[in-house]
Subunit: 319 residues, 2 copies
Amino acid sequence: MADLAQLAGVSKITVSRALGDSPLVNPETRERIQALAREHGYKLNISARNLRLRRSHTVAVIVEMKPSTDRTMFDPYPLVLLGGISQELTAAGYSVLLTTRQGATAAAVQAADGLILLGQGVHQDAVRRFDKLRLPMVVWGARSQSDAHVVVGSDNRLGGALVARHFIALGRRRPVFIGNPSHPEIFERLSGFVDALAVHGIKPLLMRRDDFTLDSGMDAVRSLHARKVGFDAIFACNDLLAMGAIRATLDLGRSVPADVSVVGYDDMPLGASFLPPLSSVRQDWQEGGMLLARKVLALIEGESANSESLAVSLIVRST
Amino acid sequence: MADLAQLAGVSKITVSRALGDSPLVNPETRERIQALAREHGYKLNISARNLRLRRSHTVAVIVEMKPSTDRTMFDPYPLVLLGGISQELTAAGYSVLLTTRQGATAAAVQAADGLILLGQGVHQDAVRRFDKLRLPMVVWGARSQSDAHVVVGSDNRLGGALVARHFIALGRRRPVFIGNPSHPEIFERLSGFVDALAVHGIKPLLMRRDDFTLDSGMDAVRSLHARKVGFDAIFACNDLLAMGAIRATLDLGRSVPADVSVVGYDDMPLGASFLPPLSSVRQDWQEGGMLLARKVLALIEGESANSESLAVSLIVRST
DNA sequence: AAACGAAATGTTATCGATATCTTGATACCG
DNA sequence: CGGTATCAAGATATCGATAACATTTCGTTT
């Protein structure tokens, strides 16, 4: 910047102002300096600026990246969530620092201005860990009574309720829920489902499955059959489980949706092409990411931010 | 750090050395200072360190995050790739700065010590753009004759050849390739496929499809049928296309694999659960990510790095 | 006992930007 | 015409760490 100042015949500070579009410099001078900067391929030293401004203009996003069968945060979705986050942060002049839970102790993370945590983990364990960094933090997941931090997520209770009402409307009386309610989000889905059914005096059966896979879904239905449990509707807490459940149901010689209604969650693209096309609850991941970003930015600016739930919608196809 | 120095009764530089585990300080002094730092929750100011060291210890990873049907870099895989990258970089004390192609002009990106580009884009367009940043860069994709930069990717030619040999072994004579060879990686798969078939005097038919979706795969087969083109084997350049092709083939009353053999690419988890279980070419994304990271790190250290291809394997299931 | 050398620590300068406080020049007012 | 706004630009200090060079301390050598 000093060199550029000499070239332009002004002082460093004027260059700094000109490049920052400050109204304190003469528009002509500003133009001239900016042209000179472009011409010489000048690039601001971000580290110096960060040091001086005491801001890194960086938000750390903590995500689990190892594929694993017992997680919701997998599949293309987190990537879309990341896309939303990235879009919004970039627009505000911030960058995304991506970390795993393990790597979150890395130096650069403590330099971040804020934190976005994707997935609370079973029993909020992840949340507690990162609370200690004392950074503005926003979490993707489900609200819990006890937390002090901001949570953004889709309205899982509503998702569960929508499915329940759908089943009721279809006259189903013996619904089953498949999934792992240890995840706060899944728990909310289950609880919305249970409550909405309770209104009609129906109590669903919980088939707890830890893996979010197709095989796990098949296994759940086979196990129901083996135990001679009757059921006429299945709410699976993700689409893979739902597809597995459908396949196993068909294998057992029962019809979907004539004998058994099935609804999944996430509305993954493949679901629409499944045979039969899968009904599912859709969440808007992109919007969720953008909302997460806006909330951290607000916190960073010292403003307050509230937890928020995004509406979900039930996509009814053929199951 | 000055405060800490005063507390310990030493100078700033001694604190700096102690925290950096420098052998220049007395082990006892080092212990004492480190204990003091922990006790007071001292955190290094990364921006200051970056400024002084002229290193940000950050690698920018450029990835496309918007879901789109015409891309290979989608589905869970880039996330696994990112996982590999992240793991390796974190171990080396580096962080991952995640950006989209649009956001890659952002300030923080130019502060990065290196660049990893996931996906070359059609006709290398993305590569050329980022070459201009003059940063150590490593690209995930396919090697081309003309590029000066380091490319890491799986051995797509080998993938194509494996499938070709598999078809030959099965006695297939009229193979079809489905995909979009404008992507360098897909082009390599096709070219490996074509070359290996040529040895046996067979020339495959190219069904160009731009979307990497199940519907697109179905459409391809229907179109073949409508044009009364005979075929007894299909190599689809990803698993979704393959599944679509299988479904359409079955719909037309032909058997898979009795009448038509089908092989996909990527070996996505769902493929194993597909009916019939899908044969596919598997690439090791995690390892690929780690390799990418190691290469940029080498370049950053001023060492040289060569382009490299990772072996792939053909997983034969029932198609 | 003087001289030397290694170990431990300190002094100073520096990385590159920006905030704050000043200064200088010009315009405008009654 | 003196005095005050207004605008443009400069001087200096500072953000927090570390590299290079300087110094002190002590033990060892001859």
